[in-house]
Symmetry: C2
Amino acid sequence: MINFQTSPDKYHHWKLDINGAVATLSMDVSEDDTLNEGYKLKLNSYDLGVDLELADAIQRLRFEHPEVRAVVITSLKPRIFCAGANIYMLGTSSHAFKVNFCKFTNETRCALEDDSRHSGRRYIAALNGTASGGGYELAIACDEIYLVDDGNSAVSLPEVPLLGVLPGTGGLTRLVDKRKVRRDRADVFSTLAEGLKGKRAKEWGLINDTFPTSKFQESIDARVRDIVALGDQAERPVGIKLNPIDVEKSANALEYKYVTLTLHRDQRFADLTMRGPESRLQMSVEEIAQAGDSYWPLQAYRELDHALLHLRINEPEIGLVCLRTEGAVSNVVAVDQNLATHRDNWLVKEIILNMARVLRRLDLTAKSFFSIIEPGSCFAGNLLDLVLASDRSYMLNDPDREVEIVASEFNAGALPMANGLTRLQSRFLAEPERVDEVLKHTEPFDTEGAEEAGLVTFAPDDLDWEDEIRLAIEERTSLSPDALTGMEASLRFAGPETMDTKIFGRLTAWQNWIFQRPNAVGEHGALTNYGKPTKAVFDYKRT
Amino acid sequence: MINFQTSPDKYHHWKLDINGAVATLSMDVSEDDTLNEGYKLKLNSYDLGVDLELADAIQRLRFEHPEVRAVVITSLKPRIFCAGANIYMLGTSSHAFKVNFCKFTNETRCALEDDSRHSGRRYIAALNGTASGGGYELAIACDEIYLVDDGNSAVSLPEVPLLGVLPGTGGLTRLVDKRKVRRDRADVFSTLAEGLKGKRAKEWGLINDTFPTSKFQESIDARVRDIVALGDQAERPVGIKLNPIDVEKSANALEYKYVTLTLHRDQRFADLTMRGPESRLQMSVEEIAQAGDSYWPLQAYRELDHALLHLRINEPEIGLVCLRTEGAVSNVVAVDQNLATHRDNWLVKEIILNMARVLRRLDLTAKSFFSIIEPGSCFAGNLLDLVLASDRSYMLNDPDREVEIVASEFNAGALPMANGLTRLQSRFLAEPERVDEVLKHTEPFDTEGAEEAGLVTFAPDDLDWEDEIRLAIEERTSLSPDALTGMEASLRFAGPETMDTKIFGRLTAWQNWIFQRPNAVGEHGALTNYGKPTKAVFDYKRT
C-alpha cells in the first residue's frame, strides 16, 4: 500500500530551502529509495515516490511559506537536471499503474501552474544540466526555463525516438499550447533523441535563455532578485503548518476526522462519506490562521484528497464510489460564507484553491461517482459540487423525512473545473439560465424542488429507494471498467477545452493507447527493449 | 484493395430520391453485400462499404443537387432505423482497420454537419424505427431528430453496456456538446442497453419530437415543408455532375490527372505530387459550371482526397508521405483569385468547402507529412496549405535555381482546420503578427525569405539537399508508428478545440485505447463475446 504523505524532513529525493522570498527546490534523487523493486533511480530519474515529494513541496510552499515569491527548481547532481520518469520502472509496471502514475505527475505539474497563476509565485527551472523527457516536462510546467551552456547540456523529449511512447506529462501539449513552439519545430524537437542545446533551444522557444556555466548561478540569482523586487513589498504573511493527516486504516475502511471511506470490495464499490462542519461558527482571519489545518474546509478536503489517491492507486478494483455527506446544511453554507467574507486573505484564498484542486482530482478519477442524498446529508454549497461532479445523483423523495440541498455563492465560480466552467455551468449547457435560478434560490431545495431545478438525476420514493440504489450499484459495477473510463472522460468535460483538459483528455488517451501497443510494451517493443542489447522491432502498420 | 468510388446507380445500401427541394436518403442495407467476409449486415447495420455510399450521397447532394433544402434520412426497413456499425465486422477486423473505419465514419458525419452549417441544407433524421449505437450517432449528426412512437422504437447507445467499447462515431461528444444533454442524463442513457423511447427521449433532449406511427410520415412531411418554405425562394441553381475519378493503378503508383502517388513500399514512404493548374485562366461562373468537375480546384482536390483514402486504408505500412507540387506558382495564385472573385456563387463556395474538407482529411491522416519544396514546385495559395499542414517542410536553398512559395488570400480563412484556425494562425500562435506579414507579402518568398518568415522548417543548400532529405525520410520511417500517430495528433492541433477536434482527439483516442483492451477484444472480452452463448468476463481493475 502506497503512502501518500510526506514532509520535507522525510524527503529522500528533494531538498527544499527557503531563503526569505526565495525557495530553492533541488532534485537529488536517491537511487535506491524506490517505491518498488527492480529499478534504480539513476540520473535524477523519478518514480511516483519522487513525485509525491514534489507535490508535497509545492503544497507546503503555498500554505507554509506564503512569503515565497520565486521558486527555483534545480538539481544537485552534476551535469544532469532530471532524466524524466524512470524507464525501468515504467517497463516493469502494470498498465494501470503507468496510467495512474502519469495522471498524478500531470496533476502535480498542473498544481504548480495553478500556484503560479493564482498565488503569483513564479517558478524558475534552473537547468544546470540536461533535462530530458519528464525532466523537460517539469521545466516546461515552470514559468521560465534557463539552461546552462556548457557545450553538453540539452533539453529533449526523447520518448518517441527512444521509447516508442509519448512524453506523458503534458510535454507535447505545453510545447505547442503553452510555449507556442511552431508545430514543425515541435515535431523536429520531439523526434530528436539528443534534443537541443542552448542557442537553438532558445531560438525555438524551448527555453527562455541560456548562460555559460561560469555565469549560470549568478544569472539565475539576478533573475530571481528581479522577480522578488517586482513583487508587492507588503508585509509577508506567516504560513500555517500542514500536519500529517490522521487516518485510521482497517481491513475495509479508512477513517479520518471528516471523511470515512468504506470499501465493499466484493461488490467493487465504496462509500465515501464527508462530514460537514460542527457549527456555524464565523471566524476571523486570525482565528482561521490559528485553526490552521484543522479548519474544516482545509482538513476535510485534504482528507478527501488523500482518500481519492488511496482509491486510485491502492484500490484499483473499486469501480464506483458512492458519495455521501452527514451534517447540517446550514453549517456548510456558513463555512462558505465565512470563506467568501475573507476571500482576499491569502490563507483563505489558498484554502479555496485547494478545495477546487481536490474536486478537480475527483473529476479526473477513473471511478464512477454516484451521489446518494438522504436525510441527514448536507450537500450544500461547496459540498453540492460533489453532487454536480458525480456521474449521477439519487435523492430520496419521502414526504415524512425531509432531505434538502442548497447552493451557495461557492457554486458560482470558486471551484472551477479543469475546463474553466463551474460545475453548474457544465451541467446546464443547454439551459444556462438555470445556473442563475439555482444560485438565486437561497432557500434549500427539497427533493421535488431539486428535481425540478435539474440538480439531481433520480428521486426515488421511500418504497423504491433501497432497491433502486442497490440495482444501480450492481449494474454500474458489472460494466466494462475500461469502457466506463472512456465514457466518463468524454461526458464529464463538455464545453470548452483548456490546456489542462487537453493534457488529461487528448494526450493522456493517446498515451494510454500507446502504452498498450506491442510496439511499445510487446516483447520486441521499444519500451521493453530500452537499455537492452536487443533492439526494438516494430510492426510498421500505421493506425 | 478497397474502392472508394461509387454513385447512386451503384448503391447497394441506400436510396437517394430527389423531389424538388427535398431529398430522401433511405437506408436499406443489403445483408450480403459486405466489404469483407464473415458477417452479414443485418438490421441496417453498416460496414465501411455502407458508409462510403453515405459519404458519396452527401457529396453529391452538395454538387449535383444544390436545389435541395432539406434532406430526410430514414430507413426502408420496418421497425429499425439503423443498428449501427456491424458488431461482427468489428469483432473480426484488425485494430488498424477498426480505427480507420471509425475515422472515416466520423469524417462522413462531420461532412454532413459541414453541409448543414455552410450550405444551409437541413438534415432531418426520421427515425421510423429503433436507432441504436451508430444509428443514433448518425441521427445526432443531423439537425433534427424525430422518433416514431410505436411503443417499441427507441434511441440508444448500447456500446458501453453491451460491447464494452465506446460509441465511436462522435456519439458521446455530440450528446453533451451538440445536443447539450445534461451529463448525468447522458451517463444514464449511455449505460442503458435498451435506450429510451419517445417521451423520455424528448424530455432529455435526445430527440426533437416523437410522433405516433399513424402520424409519423405526415409530421415529417409537414416539418420538411416548413423548412423548404423558410428557405430563400430564389431561383434554384442547377448542379454539376461528379464523374468518377480516373485513376490508373500500377504496382507502385496511382496516376491521376493532377495527382501522382508513388509508393516506395520497401522504404515505407510515398511521394504525393500535385500538379497545379495549366494556365492563369480567369473563368466566369458560367465557365466554371461548364468545366464542372474538371475545373482544377475541384478535380485536383477530389484526386487528392482519393489518394489520401487509398493511403490510409490500402497502404497501412506507408508511414510518411512526401508532398510535392509541380507547376507555376502564378497559375495557382490565379485560380485562388478566380475562386475568391466568385466566392458567393454556390458552386464556387462548394468547391472551396471541399478543398477545406480534403485538407482536414490530410490533417487527420495517421501518416507523417513532409513538404519537399524544390525548383518547379508551386506551393502557392491553396497549395501553400500543404506546406502548413505538413509536420515539416524542406525548401532547397540554391542561389542558382530559384524556388519560391507565396501566400494568397486563400491562406487567410478559406481553408480552416478542424480547430477553427487557419493553418497560418496555428503555425504562428506565438507570434500572431506573422500571419499578417505573410499575407501582406504578395510577392513570392525565395528560400531565405520563406525561412525568415517562419514558413519552412529547414532550408538545406544544394550540397546537403539530397542527403538531408534521404536521412530525414529514413529516420522518420524508422520510428514507432504508434508513437508518431499520438505525437502528431497532439502537435497538429494546438490552440482551441471544437466538437470536431474533440471527436477526433479525445473520443477517438479513448476508443482506440478501449479497442485494444482485453475487456473488449480479448478472448473473454465483451466485443469478442457479443452474440455468443458465452458471456464477457472482465478484469475489473479501473485504469
